[in-house]
């Protein structure tokens, strides 16, 4: 893939931003921002694939992220045998019954042709089925939630390394997306936006309140990391040697032995933090490049060409024999799966799963701003959007503080207006986001790095 000049400039800007922050605010801060930027970039690529390639709107980002997060919990948390003992059978039975119910409804939809009869049968079956399932389900969940509620109170997971959850999270999100797509994809784009937004709220509220599954608002903490812990690193020989070697010139200048040990200890503590964040960054970057590579390959393939054809003129594509509905579903599921991967990575990075933390403003609309600002239909643009927007989201607060202090420099430090403005610094980032979005939509509606028009 050949890059244009302005694309090189965009990459240079991204890299230099982090170096700049590294020198001003410290490398630790810079790496924290970098890690979130990479995850944001992956989410943005996921949305970009469905919106940019095929014009399928996906406002359910928050729900897919939460599914990814759930995957991280289920894969990595050690299993709680006691919960399984008391509630496993009940949950199993209700799950089997649910599958039977779904199959029955599908069968009715297929075999009963009369529309009115179909509704009646469906309603009866669903209500009856739900009543039966509830009977098993409520008992089971109650006994699970009673198992040691302060520490566990849920089913736990499989106890596997958390890194597997990145794949599983993709599959979870894809599964949910498949159901949503089956239900909603025939709708007009702005209806679809509202419906996906609503369904993502439903997904999150299920995760919030089904405590047997996700511990709900009690949160899951202490998920195992895929990278070493700082405290272990600080006691490992090779790491201490590495730090000593890297700082040998600085250490050699210090003559006093105890002083030298003191300095070395501080360096090791700082270094271990940075090392952990660097390892995360390497893992995340690997995932990002893999997705980027295949997304680009897909875009340039005949399949990607078909997607663009569907996006630009659905009727014409349909007339050419392309199954528009099926392709919409496929691309919606793929996009959601990538978002799900990002969701699992997000939980991995935090080490905890907080269902109540999923809010549409932060996890749906900001991602969409990233897509629009970066340039829909261009994967590099998506990454760029993710980096720039997340960067400004974080750096908005210090910047605003600086601006307010400059503007109100004539006022006394106890001035009510100044204090009020300084108190509301966190809210200025919303103002910035809104203004960025409005300005981009007005003056560069195709995004900062627009999609390349291909004549081939």
């Amino acid at each position: 893939m050949k890059l244009e000049k302005y694309e090189w400039i965009a990459i240079a800007i991204m890299v230099s931003l982090f170096i700049f922050v590294g020198f001003i605010q410290g490398w630790s801060v810079s790496l924290v921002i970098l890690n979130m930027c990479i995850i944001s970039a992956i989410m943005t690529m996921g949305v970009n694939i469905s919106w940019g390639y095929a014009g399928v709107i996906n406002f359910g980002v928050m729900g897919f992220l939460a599914m990814g997060g759930l995957a991280a919990v289920i894969v990595s948390y050690p299993p709680i045998t006691e919960s399984w003992k008391v509630g496993g059978i009940g949950i199993g039975i209700s799950f089997i019954l649910l599958v039977i119910l779904v199959i029955a409804v599908m069968y009715i939809n297929k075999s009963v042709t009369n529309k009115r009869n179909r509704y009646i049968f469906n309603t009866i079956f669903i209500i009856f089925g739900i009543l039966v399932i509830r009977h098993f389900y409520l008992d089971a969940t109650e006994s699970i939630e009673d198992v040691n509620p302060a520490i566990s109170g849920f089913l736990g997971g499989l106890g596997l390394p958390i890194i597997f959850s990145w794949v599983v999270g993709g599959f979870f999100a894809a599964g949910v997306a498949f159901i949503i797509g089956k239900v909603a994809l025939g709708l007009r784009s702005d209806y679809l936006a509202i419906v996906t937004l609503g369904i993502s709220e439903i997904v999150v509220s299920v995760l919030k309140h089904e405590e047997w599954l996700s511990r709900g608002v009690k949160n899951v903490i202490g998920l195992k990391r895929p990278v070493p812990y700082e405290i272990n690193l600080q006691n490992t020989d090779w790491f201490i040697n590495l730090i000593t070697y890297l700082n040998s010139s600085k250490l050699n200048n210090i003559v006093d032995v105890s002083d030298r040990q003191q300095v070395l200890n501080n360096l090791i503590i700082d270094g271990s933090g940075i090392f952990v964040k660097l390892s995360y960054a390497v893992l995340f970057l690997t995932v990002m490049f893999i997705i980027f590579y295949y997304a680009n390959k897909a875009q340039l393939s005949p399949w990607g060409r078909m997607m663009r054809a569907i996006r630009d003129n659905e009727t014409a594509a349909n007339a050419m024999g392309k199954d528009v509905v099926k392709q919409h579903l496929i691309i919606f599921v793929i996009g959601a799966a990538i978002v799900g991967v990002a969701g699992a990575m997000l939980v991995t990075l935090d080490g905890l799963f907080t269902p109540s933390g999923y809010r549409p403003l932060r996890f749906t609309f900001i991602i969409w701003i990233m897509v629009i600002v970066g340039g829909s239909g261009n994967n590099l643009g998506a990454i760029f959007g993710g980096f720039v927007i997340w960067f400004s989201w974080i750096e908005a607060a210090p910047l605003t503080t600086f601006i307010i202090n400059q503007l109100t420099v004539g006022l006394e430090p106890t001035n009510a207006l100044k204090l009020h403005l300084l108190d509301s610094v966190p809210y200025f980032r919303y103002l910035f986001m809104g203004l960025i979005l409005l300005l981009i939509l007005r003056y560069r509606p195709k995004g900062i790095i627009p999609e390349k028009v291909r004549h081939s």
Partner: protein, 337 residues
């Protein structure tokens, strides 16, 4: 007989009255969304924030009036501040149209782009509100809180169950009736209203007949401003004012508008009540009701609750999904004012 009366009172107290007042608030909100959708042809995600903005201005002036000791006696002071809030909201709507939406209207952008633009507007208004008033919960209703307390009712009728009537609920219902009557009268009887309906029905034909589109849009924003500010203030008066709630309120409002048939004002009103009642009815525990109405041998052991109240929010969306599946055009076929 007494048991039957008691059970009716239970329903009235816990389902019907809260349902009507919440439904009225949703209906006013959904009506605003519908107006934007029918005339300007996009889904306005900023509507919740516009409501919030109106409520905020009303609260600020309520505080001002309270500090000046100006009040309405038994009525909440907010009613006095409401007209100022309405004017501010209309100004906000017209400014956002002039600086943002107008450009895309002239460009004839597709609805999705306008929806994105409205998200940008949503962020900006959201930030302004939080910068001005913060994120705390604010209670600003004063005056007489209850028209009838549960205890009074019990003493009055000698029944077991009390019926409480909050003044905010009565005010909500009265203002809604007033505003809805006025809106529908305006649409059906006045010349401007008729031109708006013509515009929403067929834009090109309306333009050919000499209807001034800018004037129609201007009137629309005025109506939207009034509806949004009143809906926001009533919601804040009834529950309490918290900026984040209004962001979440957008979803039930959209659900109401779509369930009723987006673009149809009558549908929006009906949709508001449908959503409100289903949210309350599905999550209400009917035990008390059945205790009165059934003989003792049949008394239910559980709470007789279809879904726990945690899912209140999810209910409106499930209804939206079901309606879209069964009848995609909504209850009343939309797209015409």
């Amino acid at each position: 007989m007494v048991d039957f009366l008691n059970s009716i009172i239970v329903l009235l107290n816990f389902i019907i009255i809260p349902g009507i007042s919440y439904g009225s608030q949703l209906a006013l909100g959904a009506l605003g969304v519908t107006f934007v959708y029918a005339i300007l042809r996009f889904a306005n995600f900023a509507h919740g924030e516009i409501m919030s903005f109106g409520a905020m201005i009303t609260i600020l002036f309520t505080w001002f009036f309270q500090s000046q000791n100006i009040g309405l006696g038994i009525f909440p002071t907010a009613l006095l501040a409401l007209p100022i809030g309405i004017i501010a909201t209309i100004i906000l709507c017209i400014i956002s149209d002039k600086f943002v939406f107008q450009y895309y209207r002239y460009q004839k952008s597709v609805p999705v782009v306008l929806a994105m633009v409205s998200i940008g507007v949503m962020f900006v208004i959201n930030a302004i509100i939080r910068i001005i008033i913060g994120t705390e919960t604010i209670k600003f209703s004063d005056g007489q809180k209850f028209i009838m307390k549960a205890k009074q009712f019990k003493v009055m009728t000698g029944l077991n169950e009390g019926l409480a009537l909050k003044s905010s609920q009565v005010i909500t219902i009265l203002i809604t009736i007033l505003l809805l009557t006025f809106t529908f009268w305006f649409l059906q009887k006045t010349k401007t209203g008729k031109s708006m309906r013509a515009f929403s029905d067929n834009e090109d034909l309306a333009l050919l007949s000499g209807i001034n589109p800018d004037r129609v849009v201007f009137t629309t924003w005025i109506i939207v401003g009034v509806l949004a500010c009143v809906a926001g203030t009533l919601y804040g008066l009834d529950k309490s004012y918290k900026p984040i709630i209004y962001l979440n309120l957008v979803l039930p409002i959209f659900a109401s508008a779509i369930v009723g048939g987006i673009g149809s004002p009558f549908g929006a009103v009906v949709g508001g009540y449908v959503i409100a009642f289903s949210e309350i009815m599905v999550t209400y525990a009917y035990k008390k009701f059945f205790v009165y109405i059934l003989p003792i041998s049949l008394e239910p052991s559980g709470l007789v609750q279809l879904l726990s109240t945690d899912y209140k929010f999810a209910v409106s969306f499930s209804i939206l999904v079901i309606v879209l599946l069964v009848r995609p055009s909504g209850i009343f076929k939309g797209r015409v004012l």
